[in-house]
Symmetry: C2
C-alpha cells in the first residue's frame, strides 16, 4: 500500500497492471504535427496571429466547449496596443473569488475572456496555450534514490517544455491539508487555473511519468469538443467496470467553468469530505477489481464517467490511440528496437540527421513524420511512446508493487529517462551509448547516423 | 574536501567565507526594471519588434562587445516572413564544428549572425535573450536529503525562468569525462552556446544557488561593454590576491567568439590537461589564501583577471553592487526583516497588493520599485537578495564546511527556498506562514496584507 504521507502526489493508489488489450491504431497525419510547422510555437504563433488576427477567431482555437460562451471571443481581433489592466478591474479584484478547491467560482468563462480582453498580448494564441503542472511531496523521499529519480523526471519535463515553449509549474506543498496522496493534484490544478487565465489547458503529469517522445505534440484539434482528456478505454469502464479502465496520473483539462464544476464533483469523493468512507464503499462495490477500501481519484473519475453520462462523460475524451501515458512495463523493452528503427530512417535521409539549433526542433520533427506512417502508435508500435508512466513503481516511497522486482522499476526508469535524454542531448552534441549508463555520454559524430 | 565523484557540478571547492566588506550601494532606477515594462517579455518583445523593427538595430540590444562585428546586425530588420533554414547551410553543416570544449571554433560571431539572419523570428530580441544553465551529478547524492534539496533548488530556478520567460537547461551528465566537479560546467556552457545560437547570454547558476528575489532582473544594459559577469571585488583580487575575490558559481557569459576563446584558456587549467598539477602550484603560489593544492575554476578565473589585464580582464565585469550571488550565511538571518519591510510597503499601497495573473508579475514588480529606493542592495540592505548561494554547504555530498553546524546549512536552505516560494505561491493564492515549515501553507486572504 501507499502511505499517504510518503506519496502525497503520486497518482497510483496501487499498481495498475491489468493487461490492456488495445488494438494498435494508426494516427492520421492531420493532427500529429502541424505540417510545415513553425518553430518556438508561442512566439511565432503570437506573431502570426498578430499580423493575421482573423485566426484568433477561428472557432477551432477559440470556442469553449460545454459552455455557450466562447472563452476567446472575436474581440481578440482588437489585439493591438489595446487596454492595459492597471485600472480595469478583473476577477482578481473580487474578494469572494478563491484559488482554493471547495470554493465555487461562477461565470469563469466570462471572467477569463474579460481578462484576456484586458491583456491582448495573451489573447493571441490563447486557445492552444498549455501549462504543464506536476509536483511531489514537501519532504524527502523514503526511497534513498527517490528524490534523485524525481529530479531526473522533472528535468525530463522541463526539457520537453523548453523544446515546445510550454510553461511548467512544479508544486511541492499540500494546498489542502487533507487532500493528500493522489488527491493532492486537484487543489493544485484549481489554483493553476486561477493563476493562469492565459492558459486554455492545464496538463497534469505525475512526477513518475517521463516524456519519451520529445517531438510529439498533443493533437489538440482532436479534443476541440472536449474539456478533459485522459488515457482510457471505454469498454473497460462501461463493460468490464474496471477501475483500471483509465489512468488519472496524466490528464489534460480545459481552463473553463465546466472543469471547475467537474473538479468540485470529483473532489467531493476525497478525504477532506464527510462522505469519504461512503465513497470508498460505493466505488468498491461498483468497480469489483478495486481491491483497497479508500476512495481514490482514479476510481472516482471512472465512476463519474460511468454514471455521469451526458453531464460529464460527454465532455471527457478517453484517449487510447497513442501513449497519452503508457504503462512502462509494456514499453521499456521496446526502446532499443525503436532506437534502431529511427536510426534506420535517418540513415536513409540526410536532412533528417542534419544538426540544428534546439529551438527549431519542431521543424525537424515534422520532416520525420512521413517516415513514421507505418510505425503505428501505442501498444505494439515502433513509434516512440509519448509518455511512459511508472505506474506501480512508487519511486519516492520505494513501495513498488510486489509483482515487479524493484530492479525492473529502477532499470526501466533509467532506460526511459536516458532514451528521452538522448533526444535532448543530441542537440547539444552528445549521446548516451548505453541506456543503462546514466553517467557516460560520447560526442555524437557529425552526420550521425550516416 | 569535496570528492569530485560526489559533487561533479558544485562550484565551490571549499567554503568561501571571507567577510566581504562591500559598501552597500544604491541601484538607480534606470536599469533595475524597465519602467512600464511589458509582460511575458519574449512574446511581447517579439510582437513589438515585429511592428517596430527599427528597435532591433538599436545598438544597446544589438552590438556584441569585444568583437568588431555585430551579432545582431541591422539585417534583422528584414524580420518578416523571410528565409527558412531548410536549404540554407549554416554552421551546423560544417563537419569540423564541434560542441566539445577543446575544439576551437572560429568566426563564431559571424556564424551566429548568419544563423539569426536565416531565422528572423529569433533575431528580434536576440540581444537580450538569456538561457539559464544548471546541473548536478548523474548519480544520487551521498547526503540522504541531497537530491531533495537539488529538486527544490531546481524548482526554484524553473519558477524564476517561468516568471521571466527564460529557457532553462538542466544537465546531469559529464560532457567531458575528465572535467569533473567544479570544472564540469565549462563543457556544458560551451555545448549550450552552440545549441542555442538564438541566445545572447548563457547564465550558469550552480545547483546550490536559489533565486530569492523572483522579481529582480539582470541589469543587462550595464553589461553592454562586457562579455562575462561574475560576483566579485577588484581589490580582493588585485590587492589582497584572494581566491575568494570572486565566486565562479554563478556567471553570465555572452554567446560570442571572445567567450569561446576565454573558456578555452580557462579550461586549459583543468584536470583534463597535462598542466593540471602545474596550474595547481601556480594558482596556490599566486593566491596565498588558497589552501588546497588542486587547480580549481574559481582561482583560475581570478588568475586570468589578475594576469590577463587588457586581453581578458577588460571584458569581465565584477559585479558587487547587488547580490548577483550572495553568501547565504550573511543573508538568511535577514529574510524575516525583509519580509516585514515588504509587507509594510504593501500595507500602505493598495495597488501593490492587488492579486494578478502570474504572467503579469513583471508589471507589478515595476510598480513596487520606487518604494525600494531606500532599501539599498547587497550586504546590509533590506532589498530581497537576488541569488542566495549556499557556498560551503555542499547539499549533495553533505560534506559541508566544518565551520558551520550542518543544521545551519539545511535550515538556511529551507528558509531561503520557502522565502522564494512565498513570492511564487502568492500568485497561486497561498503562503508559507513559517519559513522553516516547508510542508504547510495557508490560503492568502484577499487584499493581504491590508
Amino acid at each position: 500500500m501507499v502511505s499517504p504521507e510518503l506519496s502525497q502526489f503520486q497518482t497510483s493508489p496501487m499498481a495498475k497492471h491489468s493487461s490492456r488489450s488495445k488494438a494498435a491504431s494508426f494516427l492520421s497525419d492531420g493532427f500529429l504535427f502541424v505540417g510545415g510547422a513553425t518553430v518556438a510555437l508561442l512566439v511565432v504563433w503570437a506573431l502570426w496571429s498578430f499580423i493575421n488576427p482573423s485566426l484568433s477567431s477561428n472557432p477551432s482555437f477559440s470556442t469553449t466547449v460545454g459552455d455557450p460562451k466562447t472563452i476567446i471571443s472575436s474581440e481578440s481581433e482588437d489585439c493591438a496596443q489595446g487596454s492595459d489592466d492597471r485600472s480595469d478591474p478583473t476577477f482578481y479584484d473580487d474578494p469572494k473569488l478563491s484559488y482554493s478547491i471547495g470554493q465555487t467560482i461562477k461565470n469563469w468563462d466570462e471572467k477569463r475572456r474579460e481578462w484576456l480582453n484586458h491583456h491582448p498580448s495573451f489573447a493571441a494564441g490563447a486557445g492552444d496555450r498549455i501549462l504543464v503542472v506536476t509536483g511531489s511531496q514537501p519532504s524527502p523521499c523514503k526511497n534513498p534514490i527517490g528524490d534523485h529519480l524525481l529530479l531526473r523526471f522533472f528535468k525530463n519535463k522541463v526539457d520537453y517544455c523548453r523544446i515546445h515553449g510550454y510553461d511548467i509549474f512544479y508544486n511541492n506543498v499540500l494546498l489542502h491539508p487533507k487532500m493528500h496522496s493522489y488527491w493532492a493534484k486537484l487543489p493544485v490544478v484549481r489554483a493553476a487555473m486561477v493563476a493562469h487565465p492565459e492558459a486554455e489547458w492545464i496538463w497534469w503529469v505525475d512526477s513518475d511519468a517521463a516524456f519519451t517522445d520529445m517531438d510529439f505534440k498533443l493533437p489538440l484539434e482532436r479534443y476541440r469538443d472536449h474539456n478533459l482528456v485522459i488515457h482510457g478505454w471505454a469498454h473497460l469502464i462501461y463493460e468490464k467496470k474496471s477501475w483500471t479502465g483509465l489512468n488519472a496520473g496524466v490528464f489534460l483539462i480545459r481552463n473553463c467553468q465546466w472543469s471547475l464544476d467537474f473538479m468540485e464533483v470529483w473532489a467531493s469523493m476525497g478525504p477532506q469530505t464527510p462522505n469519504y468512507d461512503k465513497w470508498g464503499q460505493t466505488l468498491r462495490s461498483t468497480f469489483k477489481d478495486k481491491i483497497f477500501p479508500e476512495s481514490d481519484d482514479q476510481t472516482g473519475l471512472a465512476y463519474l464517467i460511468l454514471k455521469g453520462k451526458g453531464k460529464w462523460a460527454d465532455k471527457i475524451y478517453l484517449e487510447g490511440e497513442y501513449y497519452f501515458e503508457g504503462y512502462w512495463s509494456e514499453i521499456v523493452g521496446t526502446l532499443d528496437n525503436i532506437t534502431d528503427k529511427y536510426v534506420g530512417i535517418e540513415k536513409g535521409e540526410r536532412r533528417l540527421r542534419r544538426r540544428h539549433a534546439e529551438k527549431v526542433s519542431e521543424r525537424y520533427s515534422a520532416l520525420r513524420e512521413p517516415y513514421l506512417k507505418e510505425a503505428g502508435s501505442g501498444s505494439g508500435s515502433w513509434r516512440r511512446p509519448f509518455i511512459t508512466h511508472f505506474t506501480g513503481c512508487q519511486p519516492c516511497s520505494g513501495d513498488h508493487n510486489q509483482m515487479y522486482a524493484g530492479e525492473s522499476c529502477w532499470d526501466g526508469m533509467q532506460r526511459a529517462l536516458n532514451f528521452a535524454d538522448n533526444q535532448v542531448l543530441r542537440n547539444y552534441g552528445f549521446v548516451h551509448t548505453d541506456l543503462l549508463d546514466s553517467s557516460s555520454v560520447s560526442p555524437l559524430p557529425f552526420d550521425f547516423p550516416a
